[in-house]
Symmetry: C2
Subunit: 222 residues, 2 copies
């Protein structure tokens, strides 16, 4: 029945888009793997691109909801004080990895896809994808500014870019890395803790000395 067909398409799409990339995944390969008819993709989803959007949306919604939930709790506990930066970073980085555990093998596929999709160049897709993140990114940016008052908005913005880069890359390649090399004895929770630690340290680090970088250094001359 229809619900089963849609689910099978979504699951195979998730895996193939993650492993081959979106442009290099053909609907014929995908539907053959899913044992459904190729016209079903357009019937149920409308287009190949809409399928990708659907694949991501079904996972990102709960991930981002969880992120905001955790952040709400942190801000609520902090009241008028300063939220802890590591807690904020943990609230951002943990949900995709934790949802991945909940979702089993499908979660692995999702995580790889989410990591890789950060580098997707298709303009139309990027606009849609960013819409799903804009609110989250802004909320976390503000929280980090509160947590780290030595940084101005520019510094926070750049450091979030660095943080997102390491998160995405780890999502995309963490499992491959773990299976072939020095990461071999690092289990998923250890790896996530390492990432959080790394990001928290980098985020909290002093602004480079000698470089005019923003409001925090307004009184200095370069």
């Amino acid at each position: 029945m229809a619900a089963d067909t849609k689910e099978r398409i979504l699951n195979v799409a998730e895996r193939f888009f993650a492993d081959r990339g979106f442009p290099a995944t053909s609907l014929r390969d995908l539907t053959s793997e899913a044992s459904v008819n190729i016209a079903s993709v357009n019937y149920h989803f409308g287009s190949k691109e809409a399928l990708l959007a659907a694949v991501l949306e079904r996972r990102l919604r709960p991930v981002n909801a969880r992120r905001l939930e955790l952040l709400d709790a942190i801000e609520s506990a902090a009241g008028n004080g300063t939220p802890n930066a590591e807690d904020v970073i943990r609230a951002f980085l943990s949900p995709p990895f934790q949802k991945r555990q909940e979702w089993g093998a499908a979660g692995d596929n999702f995580l790889r896809l989410l990591g890789r999709i950060h580098s997707e160049t298709n303009e139309e897709f990027r606009a849609t994808f960013f819409q799903q993140f804009e609110g989250v990114f802004r909320r976390f940016g503000q929280a980090l500014q509160r947590a780290l008052p030595h940084l101005d908005a520019t510094d926070v913005g750049w450091r979030m870019l660095f943080l997102v880069g390491s998160m995405a890359f780890t999502m995309a390649w963490g499992d491959s890395f773990a299976s072939i090399g020095p990461g071999a004895n690092k289990d998923p929770d250890d790896m996530l803790e390492s990432l959080i630690q790394y990001a928290a340290a980098g985020m909290a680090s002093p602004v480079p000395i000698g470089v005019p970088v923003g409001l925090a250094q307004k009184g200095r001359t370069s």
Copy 2:
């Protein structure tokens, strides 16, 4: 003449692969932009994939050579002592950004491409690409272990993965980010310094407490 044709193909390819991705760049679009005949690609390069490899090789060779040169100097200065971790990280991260400055607009394209190519899924291509990095990665891994003796090989490996992720993402999207948002007043040197600082802090951070993670914590029970 031939040298001009090859150069034009390489330059346009670099730009198109960076902006559209490899699979989504057609040789017809590319050769039309370069005002050369489509058969020239196979004549001069052999295949589309070989063209990508050539685009990257002409830039990566000097970048990686520079990385190793800088690392040699650092290790030489350190003698039997401990090299400075931030210096090692700077030696890894600076060359692509500095070569980018040398190369002008073409350098911008190259940097974006290099960032994005880290997420390319094509297995054949990845094998070739990794070959170019294997030696560099190993050398820098060893240098960082010496610089940060509290970390074992596993920790260094994972942190290098995080570092490469933020570098690649910044290469790919740093300019876009700088032109639209909070990064707007961050010039390229500032941004590179921020990245180095972020990575150096993350790299040097203590191993997470409470998580059994390797040789450094061998005597603890989880």
